[in-house]
């Protein structure tokens, strides 16, 4: 964990809060300075999606499409066919929501690299209500062939994800279309500019080292004198792994800390890339812990929970299958409220995660 350089203040109440979408706006601007083929297209939400930073610096490379998301997607495809690298933005509900088929056919089926940034995802959009809270967008994008799906956990990671997405595969990026999921509200800054980010790689954001694990074993009343390090896991065996994405990674970290205090060893993985999913990492923690909990601000069906379920069921032998609990939205629409009220109503708080861990352990 020492090599991932997380923000040292993550567990403090005054941890810095920045909207994830802001990182996208900054990343786009940086990338556009380096790559003059980048163009920006927006559907009447330039400031909300933070594309205004790019528009201001490169007015000639910005195209205002108006409130017309289907046109937005297909115009971008045409521009990509001529060698441009288009970034398109709207609220996630409208792009990739409203224009899903245009994205599927004119972008993905055509295999044109377009970067689709969907802002205002999740119920934490708040008072605008259910029509504006995209909680199906991961599901509908990850089923499209050729698509990459990224859900950054904070503004710093969003900036990196944006900049890496703009690169070609040979440069450490990708040649596929990319969907980047962004949130509206301010959320805690978890990572730093030194935290590694790679498309398709999950990162361990919380785990116990040997000293903390031995302490925890003592607390549980287990004798540690005969304790033997597990060679598979380079040390210790965690009781559970929490696989989280987006701003809720912060709640997952708080839950892991609380669980450690209560004598349960939890590991937290940041699943920034939903597709391609880091199968190796998922199977490895499944084997280590036998108990997984997924956490996402999205429908369980088809989201990270669905992706992890598919992966462990198809990837492991009978007997190695972990138990799985999913924290997220259970087949409901969103509604108006403050972000905090809604995170509570839909069961995605720190205590909901702790409770899900306990359910998983009870079923183990």
């Amino acid at each position: 964990m020492s090599n991932i350089h997380l923000n040292t203040k993550i567990f403090d109440t005054d941890v810095e809060q920045v909207p994830i979408r802001k990182g996208f706006g900054e990343g786009l601007l940086e990338s556009a300075k380096k790559n003059q083929n980048i163009v920006g297209l927006c559907a009447d939400l330039t400031e909300s999606t933070q594309m205004h930073l790019f528009k201001k610096e490169f007015p000639d490379r910005f195209i205002e499409i108006g409130v017309a998301e289907q046109n937005l997607a297909s115009v971008a495809s045409g521009m990509a066919a001529m060698g441009k690298l288009p970034f398109i933005t709207s609220y996630a509900m409208f792009s990739p929501g409203r224009n899903w088929e245009q994205i599927r056919t004119t972008i993905c089926y055509n295999d044109q690299k377009v970067i689709i940034a969907g802002s205002h995802a999740g119920v934490s959009v708040g008072p605008d209500g259910g029509t504006h809270q995209a909680i199906e967008d991961i599901a509908i994008t990850r089923v499209i062939p050729n698509m990459t799906v990224i859900v950054p956990c904070d503004a710093v990671e969003a900036k990196k994800a944006t900049m890496v997405s703009a690169l070609r595969k040979e440069e450490g990026g990708t040649n596929t279309p990319v969907y980047i999921r962004l949130a509206r509200e301010k959320s805690p800054v978890i990572t730093t500019s030194d935290t590694p980010f790679e498309i398709g790689k999950a990162q361990v954001f919380y785990e116990l080292d040997t000293d903390r694990f031995l302490l925890l074993e003592q607390k549980r009343g287990n004798s540690t004198s005969t304790f033997k390090l597990d060679s598979d896991t380079h040390g210790i065996r965690h009781d559970v792994a929490i696989l989280a994405c987006g701003a809720l990674v912060h709640n997952a970290l708080l839950a892991a800390k609380q669980l450690e205090e209560e004598g349960i060893a939890a590991k937290v993985l940041n699943m920034a890339t939903i597709k391609p999913l880091d199968i190796e990492a998922v199977l490895s923690v499944a084997k280590e812990t036998g108990a997984l909990v997924t956490v996402e601000e999205h429908q369980i069906a088809g989201g990270l929970g669905g992706a992890v379920a598919e992966t462990v069921l198809t990837g492991l032998k009978r007997g190695q299958q972990p138990v799985l609990e999913c924290v997220g939205v259970h087949d409901r629409f969103g509604q108006s409220g403050t972000p905090q009220e809604l995170i509570k109503e839909y069961g995605m708080t720190v205590s909901d995660i702790v409770a899900a861990v306990r359910r998983a352990l009870a079923r183990k």
Binding site: L45, F94, P127, G129, G130, H132, F333, S336, E345
Partner: protein, 288 residues
């Protein structure tokens, strides 16, 4: 003549009260859309207090006219008008956008079943209204007692689905369909003609086969006359392009696209009083 002077005066006073409610509810919610709702208060008043066939005490009255709010973000004017017309307690307006409220940030029928449709995502209301009009004609032929009204934003017309629905409505000769466009010249990113020019809007609808009426959307007499005219058109859908001033009644908001989606009291916008004074000043301008 469709309306007497004293009726005009009482409708204008009703519209003023609705604007005052809009300010109160947005100030309390601390989020939501201001420009469009203030601009549309006169038309909503005329519709709900004079033109519509409806019964606030019996919202599911079978022969009621239908109102489809396609530009769902202007729901503060719909909720306020419905409350003043007797559908909801006026105090309930202060629950706008709060957790558990029937008055969701964008209209949701699951919370408020007396709404004909849920909306917020732009561009699909006209299609739903066309569907209602076709269904009504199947049931009642050309002599239906109902009209289907739908409200559309001008920026909303950027969505291609409107024009798909416009073609279908003309093809189906939907004389029972009346679309009302809020021609306020603003959308989120700026003025409509800078973002996506709509002009010549009259000619566009005419060429799509609609009966087109263009009016000053703050003139009660013109509003009433336009709706009555639309009701007489037999084998064509009608569209009323109502020229309105966004933010109408609050001078510091008028014509400013910056007030599209911001309530008074939370942000400093050039040309407006300081945040702390915005609500008070808006209410003062509205004669409170």
């Amino acid at each position: 003549m469709f309306i007497t002077d004293s009726e005009v005066q009482s409708l204008e006073e009703q519209a003023r009260k609705i604007r005052v409610s809009i300010i109160h509810m947005l100030a309390e919610a601390k989020s939501g859309h201001t420009g469009g709702p203030l601009g549309m208060a006169d038309i909503f008043t005329a519709l709900y207090f004079k033109l519509l066939k409806h019964d606030p005490k019996n919202p599911s009255l079978d022969i009621r006219d239908r109102v489809v709010l396609s530009n769902g973000h202007i729901c503060p004017v719909l909720y306020a008008t419905m409350a003043h017309a007797g559908y909801l307690p006026i105090e309930e307006l202060l629950t706008l956008r709060k957790f558990g409220s029937r008055l969701q940030g964008h209209p949701h029928r699951e919370f408020l079943p007396m709404l004909e449709t849920s909306s917020g995502p732009l561009g699909s209301g006209l299609s739903q209204a066309v569907g209602m009009a076709i269904a009504d004609r199947i049931d009642h032929g050309k002599v239906s007692p109902r009209f289907i009204y739908t409200f559309l934003g001008d920026g909303e017309l950027n969505e291609g689905q409107n024009w798909e629905a416009a073609m279908l409505a003309a093809k189906e000769k939907l004389g029972n369909l009346i679309a009302i466009i809020d021609r306020n010249n603003i959308q989120i990113d700026g003025y409509t003609e800078d973002i996506m020019p709509l002009s010549p809007l009259f000619d566009k609808w005419k060429s799509f086969g609609w009966h087109v009426i263009e009016i000053d959307g703050h003139d009660m007499r013109a509003i009433v006359a336009a709706v009555r005219e639309a009701q007489t058109i037999f084998e064509k859908p009608s569209v009323i392009i109502t020229h309105t001033i966004p933010g109408r009644g609050v001078p510091y908001m008028e014509h400013r696209f910056e007030w599209h989606g911001t309530p008074p009291g939370i942000s400093d916008i050039s040309g407006a009083p300081a945040k702390a004074d915005q609500v008070k000043e808006a209410l003062r301008a509205l004669g409170e």
